[in-house]
Structure formats: C-alpha cells, structure tokens
Amino acid sequence: MAGRLRTISIPTRLTRRRGPLLDFFVRLVREKPMGTFGAIIVLGLLVTGVSADLLAPYGFNQIHLMDTLQPPSSKYVLGTDQLGRDMLSRVIYGARISMLVGLGAAALDVVVAVLIGMFSGYLGGKVDLFLQRFVDATIVFPHLFFYLAVMAIIGPGLLQVIFVLGILRGIGSSRIIRSAVMGIKQNMYVDSARALGAGTRRILLRHVLPNVAAPTIIVFTVAMGQVIIAEASLSFLGFGIPPPTPSWGGMLSAESRDYMMDAPWMAIWPGLALSLVIYGINMFGDAVRDLIDPRLRGGVGGLGGHGSGRAARALKKKGTAFGRVEKTEK
C-alpha cells in the first residue's frame, strides 16, 4: 500500500559554483577527450604563432645556398628547401600566418555574420528580404572567382586574404545568426523590453546579442578551421600569401611539387602541420558545439534539463551530481 520511499541525501557542504569559463574547461576535459586534444593543438598553434621569433632557430627567409635540399639532420631538424631555408623555421612561421588568418578571418566572419544576421532577423520585413537576397546571391557566386578578382586588383597579401575570406564567409554565416535571432525575438523578455520603451538598439545590444553568443562562438570555432584550409588552398593556387612569406599552403604548392621526388620533406612537414591543426580545430569546434548547446545545459552539471539520454547515461555511470538516488524496498 505505501509507495516506495525515496531518500535523498543532502550534501552537508554546498558545492561552490564555478564560473562559466572554468566550468566549460572542466567539462571539456572531463567529457570531451578529443576536444581537449584539439584544444591543446589550438593552444599550441597560438603559442607557436605568437612566439615564432623565439622558437624558430633561423629566420623564415634565411638562405643557405650551400645547404639546399638537405634532409633532416641535427643542423636542420626538418631539412631545408631549394634555397637552403630551414623547414622547421618556415613551418613555425607558417603557424603564425595560419593563426593570424584563422583568428582574423574568423573574427571578421563573426562580426559580419552578427551584423547582417541580427538586423535581418530582428527587423524582418523588407530589410530581411533585401538582405537575404543579397546573401543568396553571394552564396551562389563562386567564391574562387571573387578571390581571384580581388587578388588581381589589389594584389595578394595577408590583409587581403583575411578580408576576403572573412567577408565572404560572414555573409554565408549570417543565416545561422539570423535563425537564432528570429527565435530569440519571439521571447517574452523582448516584448517586455519593448513595452517598457526600450529602443531597437538597446534591445539588440542588451537582449539579443548576449543570447546569440552560443551560436556565435560555434560559428567562430568552425570558421577558424575552414578559413585556414581556404587560405592554404589560395596559397597553393598561387593567389594567397605571396612568397617568400611562408604559408603552409604555399609551401605545399609549386616548390614542393617541383622537388617532390628529390626532397619529399618539403611537402610532408607543412602537410602534416596543416592536417594536425585542422584536425585539432575541428575536434575543438565539435566539443565547443556539444558543450554549449542549450539542450544539454543542466543535463549533467545543472538542474533540470531535458537531456537526450546522455544525462541519464552520465547519471547511471557516475551517480548523482547534486544528489544520490536510492531505492528503498517496500
């Protein structure tokens, strides 16, 4: 007759709440080992890029004409290229280029996406119609032609690559932000703010923008990897960062192909570096997306939550997070 009695133990000491950033990294390490590995790679890229001058044993364009096409040795750890330049130094400085392009273009991508997406999604109507047709046209237009045209007019260079990649990608990414904004603007707090007399600008800055932070972060992390690949592709085709500045894509291009049979290390090292960084960024980006997805919020570390079964599996595996469930036999 009596139902089962459930006993919930109350912890004698309340767990201190972590800050969101710390919480994120703790959860990253605990739940996403591959994401952690990716984060380490991204961190390594950042550190290498920033401190290239300290890490590289030689200058990236320091030529040793008598040591051309040397294989890896104690003097040149990764070998030399056709001009006797140290491959390790060029790969390290190439990391700087990738870092700058990755961060710069991804940041520009986000700024453009947020600007277009926010205005388009919030204002709606003719503004949305016009902006989305513009976005449609940009998405359909072959980006490579645009790249080539811009490079032919203004010449190749690091800033040009960042600008072109960031702008074009941002226009495409605005769709994601627009979708999020359209969902947010249906919320009660937006109506409330409007009823209280808040203007469009205030609503966008105080209510909409903070709530699109999650998809924005995801756009950023995803964009970083894709932008690095795009820059490598442009440089491989000869339209990216011009020589002698080392870019991994450019290093894979003409000179590596010309000397592939004689000095395969000229292609292998930048290729490996590029593969590792892209893999790491993708893993990290996937982990970021999984961790900050609202559907999972509270599924493990917080109250409530709708979960997708992952929370239940986690509970089963580790016990309670904030309590312990005991079955009491009748």
Partner: protein
C-alpha cells in the same frame, strides 16, 4: 572504443611512415654517368672546336646524349608532342604566330627557310635551337627557288614550280604561283589595321609589289629598308592562296597552305591532329631522294600542366619535350636513361629593370647600378640554387655557337663590367656611399612567383650592403600588364630576349623601353647608333653588321641599364624511336616547331620500348 583505438593506431602508422620518408638521404649531386656520347655521324669540325681556346661559348653538345636506334629513315607512324597551351588561331593576321599558332609552321611555308642540312643532322654549322636567328647563308629556298637584289630598293623572287595547295577550299589543290606570293606580301604589310601595318611608319612602307610573269615577284621598297624586308618577306611572311581575298582563317577547316601537313582535327584545349600532305614537294636535304615528310601523322597534345607533360614523356605518350628545367632533366636522365637529350641555354635572360627616369630614385646613377650588381653573388646562386646548371653572362649576346662571332667573353669585357659580375659587397658599399647612400636605401620590385626564389636570394644579398628590397609578387596577368605598360614604380623583374642578330634596332627601341620607361635609344646610344649601326641595318652582307654588333655589346654592358641574373639551362628530351632528331626547335627565322617533317618514327623500336 576498440574501433577508435584501431583508427588511432592506423593514423600513427601513417604519420610515422611520412616522417621516415621525409628523413631520406640527401639527393646525390654527382653528374650523370651518361656523359656525352654522340653516335652516328660526327659533325665535321667538332673535334677541332673542342681543342680551340675556351671562348666562353656553351656548346649544346657538351651536355648531350643522342643515341638513336632509329638510324634509317622510315615512313609512317605518328609523331606526338605536347603544347603548353592550345593554339589560338590559324591566321597570322589575327594571332601571334610564334606563340599562338604553332600549326602554321608545318601547314604553311615561306619564301625561304632554314637549311636542315646546315644543322646537327648535316654539317653542324648551326644548332637550330634558337628561334630568332636569320643568317642568310644558313637558309635555302622554299616557295622561292631563288632571289636577287638588283639594286638597293628591289627584291626579286623566282617562284618554285610544282608546289600545290592543300586539297581543300579555297584553292583545292591548285598549283601555287606568283600571284599567291604577291597577295600574301600585300596581306601582311599593306592592310590597315594589322599589327605589322600599324607598327610601320609611312616612309618605311613597301612601295610596290609586281608580278611580271606567273613565276616572278618583284618588290620595291625604300632604300634604307632593304635588309629588313629581305628578312621579313623572305623568312617571316606566310604564303596563302589569293582566293582567300579579304577573309581571315578562323577555323581549322579553313586552314590551308602548301606545307607538309594538313590539319584534320582540332579538339579545343585537347589536341590537334595533322595528316601528311601527299603532294608535298620537298625532299630531305640530308637524305636526297626521300620525299618529305616521314611520319604519316603529327599529333599535338595540349598538356598545360608541367608534371603531366613530364609523365607523358616518361610513359612514352609523347615523343619529345622541349623546355625541361634542369632539375627535371637531371631526374629524367636517371629515371629514364633511354631518353636522348641536349642541354641548352634559352635565348632569354632574367633581368632586374630599374626606373632611371625618376631623379628621386637612386637608379639613374651608374654607381648605384654597378653596386647593386656587385652585391649579387652569382657564382653562389649558380652553384647552390642551380646546382651548376646556369650561366651568369648571357646578355646582350648569348654565349652559344650560333652567335659565337658576336659574343665577347666576360674576360674580354671592360674591367668595370667584369667587376660587376663578381661578388664585391665591400666595393658595393663604397660605391653606394659615393653615390650618397652610405646607409643603403629601401626599394621594391614587381615580379611574379617564378622569380620569387631568385629574388629572395637577391634580397638577402642586397641586405648585406644595406639595400632593403621588398618583393611585390603579382599574379602573372597583373605582372604582365605592369610590364607592358611600364607601370612599375621602382624595379621590375622581367626577362629580356637577347639581341636578335638582324634586329638590333628592335632590341634597343622596343624591348628596353618596354621595361624601362625612361630609356630611349637617343639618350644613351644616339651617337653610336647613327655612326656605327644605322648605316648597316639594310646591309645584306652581314660581316660588317656582325662586327659592329660585337663592338656594341661591351658598350651596352658598360651602361649597365639592367642587372642580369643567372640564366638557367634547359633540356630537350626525346624518345629513342625518333630518328634524325638532335634537339632542333626552329629551322630558320621564327619557324617554331617546324622540325617534324625532317624526322621519322621507327615503329619497331617504339614497340620494343612500349609494347605498342
């Protein structure tokens, strides 16, 4: 988990394999053991030449292998070679013949052509490697059987009988006569709107073209232009049928000539197929009695990618490849020892051009130009970057046998010129200080990526004397437009075609100003030109002109109007079943790729190597 572990292991194995392959031993730098072995007829005079004092001349036979198994001329087979880009047209009035219409050289003919028998296949007097030379004594009649210059304004050609047009519209196999020749000369020189017409000043135009009979053409020209028209009409005018009228040839079906081959197919951006002209008139000058051509078909495959062209040569898909860079040539020598080859210097030299018209820039000061040249260690570039496969002094006259009587070796040049081709960074700093740049200066150079490597070396070497060079690397089309428009602000990297034997004026008036807007013939060489060269431009006996060109070259070197960079060697390689070939390219003035009619394909030998 297990699956993940397996994938992780496989990935690690791949990475380790890549790393191990990257750590292979350094490539050997010993020269090829093939050496120089020429089998067959020894070119007369070759042994004596080897014993002469070293005149700085680079003989193609010094680095050559011609061991052909196809020693007996044979008819039949298909000769296949690659084009870097598709042909763009079939009419020289529309397209650039040299670069865009290579089929014309084997479908059509001129009044005279180079004598194959004077080349490596015969006496060896000329190599036929360079495309621009016009040396009358090395030519023979083609459409013209003979010619004469009765006075200083008249050219008279006797037209060869028995030459027939291809059996297609509009001539349908008719016999060629003087009217066709007169029409063709008029078509090239006297039609407004064409490039030649627009580039010819009024006082230099042809005065009259007459055909007193069916087999004679008489051309009257201004007196001072006789030599130029002798070359232009004789060796640079393609003959077309008079029925063509005002029309231009715009498709392969309309391409008509009297040459050894007839275009039978053109697949855009893929291939061109030409069939043997069964009524072709010429005989092999080396094997008299043999009617040309030997191969039944010629196929030109459009292969834009260099790696693909090389692979096609290695697998026997193409029979010959010209223009292999030295590193590819050396690799193929080891990987495909059956290939024959010659090594040669191309007729263009990479140069750094300077804006000497801007007084605010340092380059109008000869001391600065000499200093910049002295700061470059060309020997180190040749040894380290080119692995010995380059020459440092090729401008303005190439050190090749065909120009040996005009070439002045570096050791016979002035002391200043010799000095600036050596590496003297201390002297360079002194000169810069004298010129008012004790701390050097900053400058920039417009280039395309092909020169980026060499300019990176120059950048480092110039930095040692305080000159900071910034590379402005442009896409090739953008670079070309800057080059042609003279839009470079300070420096420009561009190659120059070295002096063409009979066109020194073109060299000085066209090429130099094209790269350096400031440079005018008048400013620097006016006195010399008027006195030494101008009177002889129309001269038909060339000994005086060649002597004066030999005298001009050191004078130009002393001016240092551009800084020469090392010119690399290239290879021409061909299959062992191609007989009668020694690396020729242009048999006569501007006859690019007209050699196919003289060579043969030995299908038996080909089958031994390829199985097909």
């Amino acid at each position: 988990m297990r699956k993940g572990a397996i994938w992780l292991c496989l990935s690690c194995i791949m990475v380790v394999a890549l790393v191990l392959s990257a750590c292979q031993p350094a490539p050997t730098t010993e020269p090829s053991e093939e050496g120089t072995r020429v089998v067959g007829e020894v070119t007369p005079g070759e042994e004596e030449e080897a014993q002469e004092e070293d005149k700085g001349i680079v003989e193609p036979s010094e680095e050559a292998k011609v061991v052909t198994e196809a020693t007996t001329p044979k008819y039949g087979g298909t000769l296949t070679y690659a084009l870097v880009s598709d042909i763009r047209g079939f009419d020289p009035n529309i397209v650039n013949v040299d670069a865009e219409c290579l089929t014309l050289h084997i479908t059509n003919e001129e009044l005279m052509t180079g004598d194959w028998a004077k080349g490596p296949a015969g006496t060896g007097d000329v190599s036929w490697i360079m495309p621009g030379l016009f040396i009358p004594e090395h030519n023979r009649g083609a459409i013209a059987e003979s010619w004469e210059m009765p006075d200083e304004q008249t050219l008279k050609y006797s037209i060869r009988r028995g030459i027939h047009w291809h059996d297609r519209a509009p001539a349908f196999g008719r016999e060629l006569n003087a009217e066709d020749v007169a029409y063709s000369i008029h078509r090239k020189y006297l039609i407004p709107g064409t490039e030649v017409y627009e580039n010819t000043v009024e006082e230099d135009r042809i005065i009259s073209i007459e055909t007193p009979d069916k087999w004679t053409v008489v051309v009257t020209v201004p007196a001072h232009t006789l030599g130029a028209y002798f070359q232009g009409i004789g060796a640079e005018t393609w003959i077309f049928p008079v029925e063509l009228g005002d029309a231009n040839i715009t498709s392969w079906e309309g391409a008509i000539g009297t040459g050894p081959y007839i275009i039978t197919d053109h697949v855009i951006d893929s291939s061109v197929t030409l069939d043997r002209n069964p009524r072709y008139w010429a005989e092999d000058p080396v094997h008299p009695g043999n009617r040309l051509p030997y191969p039944d078909k010629v196929r030109q495959l459009v292969i834009e990618d260099q790696a693909t062209r090389i692979a096609a040569l290695q697998t026997g898909k193409i029979d010959r490849y010209r223009g292999l860079e030295w590193k590819d040539g050396e690799r193929l020598m080891k990987g495909n020892p059956e290939l024959n080859y010659i090594r040669y210097l191309t007729h263009v030299s990479p140069m750094i051009w300077m804006r000497m018209d801007k007084p605010e820039l340092p380059f109008d000061d000869l001391r600065v130009r000499r200093a910049l040249s002295m700061a470059i260690d060309r020997d180190a570039i040749i040894e380290g970057y080119f692995q010995g496969n380059a020459e440092k002094f090729c401008h303005p006259i190439l050190p090749v046998p065909d120009m040996s009587d005009m070439f002045v070796p570096l050791k016979e040049q002035s002391a200043e010129t010799q000095e600036r081709y050596e590496h003297h960074p201390d002297k360079a700093r002194e000169l810069l200080a004298e010129a008012g740049y004790p701390n050097g200066f900053k400058t920039s150079i417009v280039t395309h990526k092909d020169y980026a490597d060499m300019l990176s070396i120059v950048k480092q070497q110039w930095s040692e004397v305080g000159v900071e060079l910034e590379l402005d690397v442009r896409e090739r089309g953008a670079w070309r437009s800057i080059m042609r428009g003279g839009g470079h602000e300070e420096l420009l990297a561009a190659q120059i075609t070295n002096i063409y034997y009979y066109r020194p004026l073109a060299y000085l008036e066209d090429y130099i100003p094209q790269y350096n807007r400031s440079f005018g013939v008048d400013e620097y060489v006016e006195e010399y030109f008027e006195e030494k060269l101008q009177p002889y431009i129309g001269v038909l006996t060339d000994d005086v002109l060649r002597a004066n060109l030999r005298e001009l070259a050191p004078y130009l070197c002393d001016l240092c109007w551009a800084i020469e960079l090392p010119s690399q060697y290239y290879y021409t390689m061909w299959q062992p079943w191609v007989g009668g070939y020694h690396g020729e390219y242009s048999v006569g003035r501007g006859n690019h790729e007209d050699w196919p009619k003289y060579v043969w394909i030995d299908e038996d030998v080909k089958r031994q190597y390829t199985g097909r």
